[in-house]
């Protein structure tokens, strides 16, 4: 079977313009692009469905257009409507909350890109020589006070975290 060049060209234009708009940062343009790409895709289904013909009704004697892809397209049209309504609501929400119609870069992702150091604790840690220390029944005088140890450790890790943040910040600024 061969295709109608006119339909193909329309589809190519719709896809091209649609994708071009989809890649924008303005949310309204993204929605426009989405609508165009939706239309283009329906057109694609229409083109590959074969030649045009009479409407598909039982008892139609003339050659009819293929009804199955039409059902697909009908489904697609309504879904596109649902999704574009959702996008519209998103646009409104974004405008109301941030007064912006723009898809911004994700700040968390950007922060990730600026980090230079790893998150794992990779320093060797010495264990204690006791689980009881000064709490033991007949503790020796040199026994370790575990509670103080834990406190110190906590402060150390807090300090390390602060240092890390400062480092990240410095690198980010640079």
């Amino acid at each position: 079977m061969n295709a109608s060049l006119t339909l193909v060209i329309i589809m190519v234009v719709l896809y091209s313009v649609g994708v071009y708009l989809l890649l924008e940062r303005s949310m309204t343009r993204v929605l426009l692009g989405f609508l165009l790409v939706g239309n283009a895709t329906n057109l694609l289904i229409l083109i590959v469905s074969g030649p045009s013909g009479a409407a598909a009704f039982y008892g139609e004697d003339a050659a009819t257009a293929d009804p199955l892809p039409q059902a697909f397209i009908l489904t697609a049209i309504v879904i596109t409507f649902g999704v574009s309504a959702f996008l519209l609501a998103l646009i409104y929400r974004s405008w109301r909350l941030a007064n912006a119609d723009v898809v911004y870069d994700d700040t968390e992702d950007l922060a990730m890109g600026r980090r230079r150091t790893s998150v794992t604790t990779d320093r060797p840690v010495d264990g204690d020589d006791t689980e009881f220390g000064t709490r033991a029944a007949a503790a020796i005088s040199t026994a370790v006070d575990l509670e103080k140890q834990e406190e110190r450790e906590e402060q150390e890790s807090l300090a390390a975290e602060r240092r890390q943040q400062e480092l990240d910040k410095k690198e980010g600024d640079a």
Partner: protein
């Protein structure tokens, strides 16, 4: 057995609650279960001896060969006794070890019990997948146990390290197990070993399994996790890191050895690693000052020893291996418990801080000395008997000319010497009186607290004379190996044979070295550490972390256009390359189907291109509308009236929705963002467009068979009882698709509502009160002149008093009212609703159907809203949109599922026809109910859009302008 395992699981669940009441006495309860399992296993002894292993099996996932099957043969029997027996004793020990105030005691007790149960299941499991599941479960529980002290960094890191190392090994093992089970077609361990397949694939599978076993048993290069895991409470170390978990790897190797010891690479690899681990562990143990670490490195060494023996593959070695396994579990658990006692008593495990404990704690010292004697292999202990038999088995092989036998003898002899040295050091370090070190304070010894290590140590001594009897049971395992004609049996005393002389030599040299320890340590400090696996592990993790960070930062830029570009380019690349390889190009192409197509196409292309340059939002909305209506025309030309109709309606509703939102946004489309990289975007767009064009041409050209839809018209009429094929396809033949679509619509509508209504979705549309509405209607029914006459001034129409053509007309601000619109809507609303009903019911045979009908009804509502505002919408549709959506979905889903209840396939339609007087012939198909569902869902969707994007936005605007006027901030 399965009942016992269930008891382990269930009791673990209630332990945390019990702990709140019983405190440390909860360990009495937990000890009951492993004790029961211990006794039960003892009762199985006759069956095990008679070589009729008790089995139990419950099918679980038969498709995967995964069954809950358990089997207690000699090896499992021994391990089960060790696991449950030592488990019971360690739990009893915990009663005194922990204080009632211990943090997380309930969790600890529960996890400990669960671990014991898992371990018991692991050693009696017969299914390889079940074995793997339990294997990984022990890893997870050990993670929780090692990390018991959540406040300390060391314990968290150690727990993580043990988890990562053993899980990684376990996953590798899983691959091997799957390969093995797939190759042999059975997942039963016993069957696998009977079959003992060979070949390259089997060798690879076995090597993979060995990785898991070696990592679990802390064999070089995985040995580093075990000493780190000493951050765990000492009872955990006594159980997991001496008797139970670390022996799991040894157990698995012992389990596989009868079938696979002849696998290429098995013997040299395991012997080499075993001897090396034994030496490395012993060497490191020499210099430890923490008694627990000393024991931990000692355990690494002993695990290497065990590996050397159980993997050796001869009958005598197998017997010696299991004997050593038993002896090791007894003395090592006892020694860990002793260390725990010391720590509990004096508050340190550092042997440089301990002095005079031997004099102060004679019972503890006795226990420790007996257990250490067994560890060092001093005559007439269990350890001695086991070591004798090990040496004897190696001597057998060596004298038969096996080089491996010689290596094993030398390795074990040197390793044993080191064992003697660190054993002596342990006793000396813990109990001797040292000059210049403060002597420990006297303290009464608690008999109960001592009992667990005492029982373990005593059994090292008491069992030794009975090892002959034990041996006859254990031969049930070793006879699985081919006999080489030797008839070795375990005995307390074999006389002054070669093995004894080697033993004696190791003892004497060991003690001599300990005597000269100052010089030995000085010498040792000169030898650098060969490989620091711990460092390697940390740097591996660090590198992994950095790579992950780099990859994430490079690929996850946080930019939506970037992601889309990547996705589209991948599509162009992959689909494009497939097209390039395509050989079936159509030989001709039509220019156009009709002149109308050409004209419409031109308009659409112009509109689309203008869209790129559109500067204003409304302009863009109109242009995209032009494209949409053009689509409808194309559909109509194609012979698709249904989609043409739907497209027109959808386009209209979309346009309305667009306008409703856009009125709140600035008129001009933002220019600042998105104008960058125009050329790139244009290139991507163009390449996608062209690609899709080629796809369309090729796809159509590739169609050569008759489409299945050729038979659809007949099907539609005969089965679906409808003439409109497209409609019958939607509501009957492919009803599932439509049902899925309806769900999408409901989700989208709900999404719209929840994005706009910030708090609640319930219907809060303002309504004109019933009474007023009725009044208005009654008033309107009177001749209109009467109402107006009093204020009627010809020529001057005051909008506020103007007659209302709609229910809520007067609620609208006068300047927003349009009399023309009100009149038109007033006239059109009811005809539109009737039209929608007509489309709904006629759709089965004529163009129309639920989608189009719903959209028409939605448009009627939209008209009411546009003309009369949100009050008018509330009056026109005085119901909750969510409810309409729900009812619609229920109707559609009900039509789909009710036939199932009646025994037919889902979505089967039923057809009725009858002749009713006056109306004539009436036909009804149940698929019409489905279509009504579609109709309601579409109405609900449109209504939700109107309520959210229309009415609610109105309200929010009024609210904000009111608050601005009253001077308050939003």
């Amino acid at each position: 057995m399965i009942v016992l395992l269930a008891a382990f699981a269930l009791v673990s669940l209630v332990i945390p609650a019990l702990t709140r009441r019983l405190h440390t006495r909860v360990f009495f309860v937990t000890a009951l279960i492993p004790a029961a399992a211990f006794i039960y296993t003892l009762l199985q002894t006759p069956a095990v001896l008679a070589d009729t292993p008790p089995t139990e099996s419950i099918p679980w996932i038969s498709q995967l060969n995964l069954d809950l099957s358990f089997r207690v043969d000699t090896l499992s029997w021994l391990l089960a006794l060790v696991v449950t027996g030592v488990g019971t004793l360690v739990m009893l020990y915990c009663i005194k070890y922990f204080a009632a105030s211990e943090e997380g005691l309930g969790r600890f007790a529960a996890v400990f019990l669960a671990f014991t149960g898992t371990m018991y299941g692991l050693v009696i499991a017969d299914n390889v997948y079940l074995l793997f599941i339990l294997w990984e479960a022990t890893t997870v529980f050990s993670f929780l146990l090692i990390g018991h002290n959540t406040g300390r960094l060391a314990s968290r890191i150690a727990a993580m390290q043990a988890l990562i190392v053993t899980t990684a090994g376990g996953l590798v093992m899983l691959v091997g197990l799957v390969m093995l089970a797939e190759r042999t077609g059975t997942a039963s361990l016993a069957r696998l070993i009977d079959l003992a397949p060979e070949g390259t694939a089997v060798t690879i599978a076995i090597m993979l399994i060995l990785v898991g076993a070696l990592s679990k048993s802390a064999i070089v290069p995985f040995q580093f996790w075990l000493p780190s895991a000493m951050a765990a409470p000492t009872p955990v170390s006594a159980y997991l890191h001496a008797a139970a978990m670390v022996q799991a790897g040894i157990y698995l190797i012992a389990r596989l050895a009868p079938g696979f010891a002849q696998t290429p690479g098995w013997q040299p690899l395991l012997l080499g690693l075993g001897v090396f681990t034994m030496l490395v562990g012993g060497w490191r143990a020499l210099t430890q000052v923490d008694l627990k670490l000393l024991l931990a490195y000692g355990t690494v060494s002993q695990l290497g020893f065990l590996l050397t023996v159980v993997s050796f593959g001869t009958r005598t070695a197998a017997l010696a291996g299991v004997a050593l396994l038993l002896a090791h579990a007894l003395f090592k658990a006892a020694l860990f418990l002793v260390v725990g006692l010391i720590d509990h008593r004096v508050g340190t495990r550092d042997l440089t801080k301990l002095s005079g404990l031997g004099r102060e704690a004679p019972f503890l010292t006795t226990i420790a000395v007996i257990a250490t004697a067994s560890m060092a292999g001093i005559p007439f202990t269990a350890g001695f008997v086991a070591k004798e038999s090990v040496l004897a088995s190696f001597i057998e092989s060596a004298s038969a000319g096996s080089a491996l036998g010689w290596i094993a003898i030398v390795g074990v002899a040197v390793g044993s010497t080191l064992t003697v040295v660190y054993s002596a050091r342990f006793v000396w370090g813990a109990f001797a009186s040292k000059n210049g070190v403060e002597t420990v304070r006297p303290l009464h010894e608690n008999v109960w607290f001592l009992s667990s290590p005492a029982i373990l140590a005593a059994s090292s001594l008491v069992l030794a004379p009975f090892f002959g009897t034990v041996g006859t049971v254990l031969e049930g395992y070793s006879t699985q190996f081919v006999s080489e004609g030797y008839d070795y049996s375990l005995k307390l005393w074999h006389g002054f044979d070669a093995a004894f002389f080697i033993s004696a030599a190791t003892l004497l040299i060991g003690l001599a070295l300990f005597w000269a320890r100052t010089q030995v340590f000085a010498l040792q400090s000169l030898v650098p550490a060969i490989v620091d696996s711990n460092k390697l592990y940390r740097s591996t993790l660090r590198t992994l972390d950095r790579v992950a960070l780099r990859v994430t930062a490079t690929t996850q830029r946080g930019s939506l256009p970037f992601y889309l570009t990547v996705i589209l380019l991948v599509m162009v690349g992959s689909v494009g390359s497939t097209l390039a390889l395509n050989r079936s190009w159509p030989d001709s192409i039509r220019l156009f189907d009709s002149a109308g197509q050409l004209a419409i196409g031109a308009v659409m292309i112009v509109a689309a291109l203008a869209l790129v340059a559109a500067k204003k939002r409304f302009q863009a909305a109109v242009l995209v509308g032009v494209v949409g209506y053009g689509m409808a025309a194309l559909f109509a030309f194609h012979g698709a009236p249904d989609i043409a109709l739907t497209q027109v309606l959808v386009e209209t509703v979309t346009l309305i929705a667009f306008v409703l939102v856009l009125r709140r946004l600035p008129a001009r489309l933002g220019k600042a963002h998105g104008s960058s990289r125009r050329v790139l975007r244009a290139a991507v767009g163009l390449s996608v467009g062209l690609l899709m064009g080629i796809v369309a041409i090729v796809a159509l050209g590739a169609r050569s068979a008759d489409p299945i839809s050729a038979s659809l018209p007949d099907l539609a009429y005969e089965i679906g009882h409808g003439r409109n094929v497209v409609n019958v396809v939607l509501v009957d033949i492919r009803g599932w698709d439509t049902l899925g679509e309806l769900s999408v619509i409901v989700a989208a509508a709900t999404g719209v509502a929840s994005l706009v209504f910030l708090r609640s979705r319930t219907d809060n549309l303002p309504r004109v009160s019933e009474a007023r509405a009725r009044g208005t209607i009654r008033a309107r029914l009177k001749p209109s002149r009467e109402i107006v006459s009093s204020e009627y001034v010809p020529g001057v129409q005051d909008p506020s008093t103007r007659n209302a053509w709609l229910l809520a007309g007067r609620k609208l601000a006068p300047e927003n009212r349009s009399i023309l619109l009100e009149v038109v809507i007033r006239l059109l609303f009811h005809p539109l609703i009737v039209l929608s009903l007509y489309l709904l019911f006629a759709g089965h045979n004529l163009p129309g159907g639920g989608f189009a009908a719903g959209l028409v009804a939605g448009l009627a509502l939209a008209g009411r809203y546009l003309a009369g505002g949100r009050y008018e919408l509330g009056a026109a549709a005085p119901f909750d949109a969510g409810r309409i959506l729900g009812v619609g979905l229920v109707l559609a889903a009900g039509t789909a599922t009710v036939p199932l209840l009646l025994g037919a396939d889902a979505l089967t339609s039923t057809f009725f026809e009858t002749t009713i007087p006056l109306l004539g012939h009436v036909e009804f198909s149940t698929s019409t109910i489905f279509d009504i569902g579609v109709y309601l869902v579409v109405i609900g969707m449109v209504l939700d859009v109107l309520r959210s994007l229309g009415a609610e936005i109105d309200r929010q605007r009024e609210e904000s302008s009111e608050s601005l006027e009253s001077g308050s901030t939003i």
